[in-house]
Symmetry: C2
Subunit: 217 residues, 2 copies
DNA sequence: GTCTATAGCCCGATAGAC
DNA sequence: GTCTATCGGGCTATAGAC
């Protein structure tokens, strides 16, 4: 028998509720921050979306800014995992690049609000996330640049400016989340469809493989 | 002698002052909307930046929204002129593409706030600019798509998905304005320099000429 | 954990003097 | 054209009852 008392079923249930409400708050905050920006959203908007009172938000999160930071962290974690996957597939450059493009585009399709919150923060000059970018994105990018350089030294790919290539890939893949409203407007459809993402993926893969691997597809 | 009275010098001067102040308001509004978003900026912020009172802004512009729309129009006008230039240089695809990329990147370097205001609007779902996009961006894109198709039919370029190619070019070139804070952070410098834009231009031109014209550079 | 109440401040827009 | 004054409302955050 353990000295620490077992958690009661009631406590479990309460804890689950707490976690679920926290998640609901984060989801609503994400959606609203994405569309209206940090300054354009009030705690009251978020609370009404969740179906609770704004004072309750400040019970779960210490401040509006803390809530916002939590949302941003969720996005960055996923994107960094995609960047890490490039190094993990370093033995197969073509697959690494294909997977990166497909993964980022898939994320843009499935989580457009995540991308937009992050875009708003960066457009604003990263006032609250600059340190996080320095501490986590910079090393992740440098690791990927090293992979590209090793490929070039081994003669399996052309020498490319890997930093700017990654910028182009970030921008192009995230555009299908951030600029989805404009893209769907000029494609003459109410919203982007699966085939639009497939076409974007085909073009991007073509462009990148031609440039990096000198490979017409 | 004309029946309409000649404008007095005083009137001219007053008119110049009015126009200059209007321009100053537009510049300040642009900078602030770019960084904080529409909802994150107050007329008082803008007025203080210009050095006047917020009531004066509402003398020159009928509302906060009208001021915002004026800012957005300025950006779109320039970008549409770059898109039109592709059709005007249709006899030389390589030059048309090179000029488009160079022009867009140059605009991102010289007018980063313009790009960011527009990005904010599109990320928000284009709540105030959707009609303008339908009326002006859509036809401009269709004209450029037609140019790409004529090139392909004439055998001077590969058949490419011109719509998505333009999306990639929009996203990549505008990223050097919209995401400048992140790019400079991961490049380890306080802000983007001329050589960063040159490197971006070289990579993008390489990628596009390889893809569209099958041309290694 | 959720509620009411409220402090202290900022918001867009208008009215009207000068 | 620029000013002061003000309306009616919204904002984040805290205090404290239950």
């Amino acid at each position: 028998m353990s000295t620490s008392p077992p958690r009661s079923a009631a406590k479990e249930r309460r804890s689950d509720t707490r976690e679920r409400l926290e998640q609901e708050i984060l989801e609503a905050a994400k959606r609203l921050f994405a569309v209206r920006g940090y300054g354009g959203v009030s705690l009251d908007h978020i609370a009404r979306d969740v179906g609770t009172a704004k004072q309750n938000l400040l019970y779960y999160f210490s401040s509006k800014e803390a809530l916002y930071r939590r949302v941003l962290h969720g996005v960055l974690d996923v994107w960094l995992s995609y960047m890490a996957a490039i190094a993990e597939n370093a033995d197969d450059p073509e697959m690494a690049l294909r997977k990166y493009i497909a993964g980022k585009l898939r994320f843009s399709r499935d989580h457009p609000y995540d991308s937009r919150v992050y875009a708003n923060e960066v457009i604003a000059g990263a006032p609250l996330f600059a340190q996080e970018i320095k501490d986590r994105v910079l090393p992740a990018l440098q690791a990927d640049i090293a992979v590209f350089n090793r490929w070039a030294e081994a003669g399996v790919c052309r020498p490319v400016d890997a930093a700017h290539l990654m910028v182009v890939l970030w921008a192009s893949t995230q555009a299908y989340a951030d600029f989805a409203s404009q893209i769907s407007l000029v494609l003459g459809k109410p919203e982007l469809e699966q085939q639009d993402f497939a076409a974007a993926e085909a073009l991007l893969v073509d462009m990148v493989l031609r440039t990096v691997l000198n490979k017409p597809v």
